[in-house]
């Protein structure tokens, strides 16, 4: 037996007529018609994605402007280009994924988990190329301060992103939360790269990069909780 034979059997058996009650369909149509009014469709994916990228950049730059661009000033030209172009690509990719998660039936060439893994690996790769100071002074205390700053900054970025996409509908709230959290975390990392003057490799590799997965996990948790709350109602 070949695939063509299986295909023929499937084609033959799939033609059975549906037995849905016409009265049920009429009742549904009447119910929808009773509250029908024109709606404005969502814009193309690139528009909200660009909005999300702007939000992330604005939040990071505003926070860095308040605390000082010490990290940015300390970096060389090529280091700046390498780090911030990587961050820009990751913000765009995560933003696009977040938008796709909030539009049913969107194309998703990669899962959110894959994007998160690839994004974190890309950050680790770039940071390990740029930062070569292998001392570990105040590793825990300085690290926790950076992680906390990055995560605190992710909160306004996440709230503003959600406001922008509030008309969307998440078919998978956990995945949407994961994508949104990762995006907000990237805003936090961008701010840390602009501000943090601590160029010790392990500090940046561990604590700066950790902002993204921790923020993504928090986003997934929020998505799960919101979904549980809404389905309980």
């Amino acid at each position: 037996m070949t695939d063509e034979d299986v295909d023929k059997v499937l084609q033959k058996t799939s033609g059975a007529a549906s037995q849905v009650d016409p009265a049920l369909l009429k009742r549904i149509a009447d119910s929808l018609n009773s509250s029908l009014r024109p709606v404005r469709p969502l814009p193309p994916t690139w528009a909200p994605t660009a909005g999300l990228a702007l939000i992330c950049a604005a939040v990071a730059v505003t926070a860095a402007a308040r605390t000082g661009f010490y990290g940015f000033e300390k970096l060389g030209l090529w280091e700046r280009v390498l780090i911030f172009s990587t961050l820009a690509i990751l913000v765009w990719t995560s933003g696009k994924e977040f938008v796709s998660q909030l539009i049913p039936g969107s194309r998703q060439p990669l899962s959110v988990g894959s994007i998160l893994t690839i994004g974190s690996a890309a950050l680790l790769g770039v940071f390990s190329l740029v930062f070569r100071d292998y001392r570990t002074d105040h590793f825990i205390s300085a690290g926790i301060a950076c992680l906390r700053t990055g995560l605190l900054l992710a909160i306004p970025a996440a709230c503003m992103s959600w406001l922008l996409l509030r008309r969307g509908f998440a078919v998978n709230p956990v995945a949407a939360g994961l994508a949104g959290g990762a995006l907000a975390g990237l805003s936090g990392v961008t701010m840390l790269e602009l501000h943090c003057p601590n160029f010790q490799a392990l500090h940046v590799l561990v604590w700066h990069t950790a902002v993204v997965p921790v923020s993504a996990a928090a986003g997934a948790l929020v998505g799960w909780a919101l979904h549980k709350h809404s389905s309980a109602k």
Binding site: L25, L36, G105, Q108, S111, G168, V171
Partner: protein
């Protein structure tokens, strides 16, 4: 769909009559009771109505419908399993369907044929064979990559091929295949 978004009454009726039976069959295939499928269909249309602005006219429409229908189905089973301890899990229901003779199993041969497959494989084949969706559209509806859908279809066909070969003469005589 664009006319529906613009508030056209006739478009709603036409859309419900066109897509409703497909969605109903999608739910019937996975539900032990007809009333469940009816409830799910109504709930899906209400959800579709609430989020109809999320459809973009430049995008394929079936993946959009099926993505929402899948979500409603998952929510329904989760809610049902929370509220009643007697509710059987989906796999168990599928097993029951698999053991029923074709007439009792909603009278649908396709479901009997697909019964030995995993739930995700059955779902993908139903979308492709009943709704006539392409690989790309199924990938969109299930939030998977096209590669992942291809792999599931390949495995499903292999399982079906093995099953049909093992049943050979019996299935061949009942379905008119050699």
């Amino acid at each position: 769909m664009a006319r529906y978004q613009a508030g056209d009454f006739a478009a709603v009726t036409a859309l419900v009559e066109c897509v409703g039976p497909q969605l109903h069959r999608f739910f019937m295939a996975q539900s032990a009771r007809r009333s469940d499928a009816d409830d799910l269909l109504q709930e899906t249309w209400l959800r579709i109505h609430r989020v109809r602005h999320t459809y973009r006219p430049s995008e394929p429409v079936l993946p959009w419908f099926y993505a929402i229908a899948r979500r409603v189905r998952i929510d329904h089973y989760r809610r049902a399993s929370r509220t009643t301890a007697r509710e059987r899990p989906l796999e168990e229901v599928s097993d029951v369907v698999a053991t029923l003779p074709p007439d009792e199993a909603h009278g649908e041969d396709l479901e009997t044929l697909l019964a030995p497959l995993s739930e995700s494989q059955r779902e993908i084949l139903r979308m492709m064979k009943v709704a006539g969706m392409s690989l790309e559209e199924v990938a969109r509806a299930t939030s998977c990559s096209v590669g992942s859908v291809k792999q599931k279809v390949h495995r499903a066909y292999r399982n079906l091929r093995d099953g049909m070969t093992a049943l050979g003469p019996k299935r061949g005589s009942s379905r008119g295949l050699s």
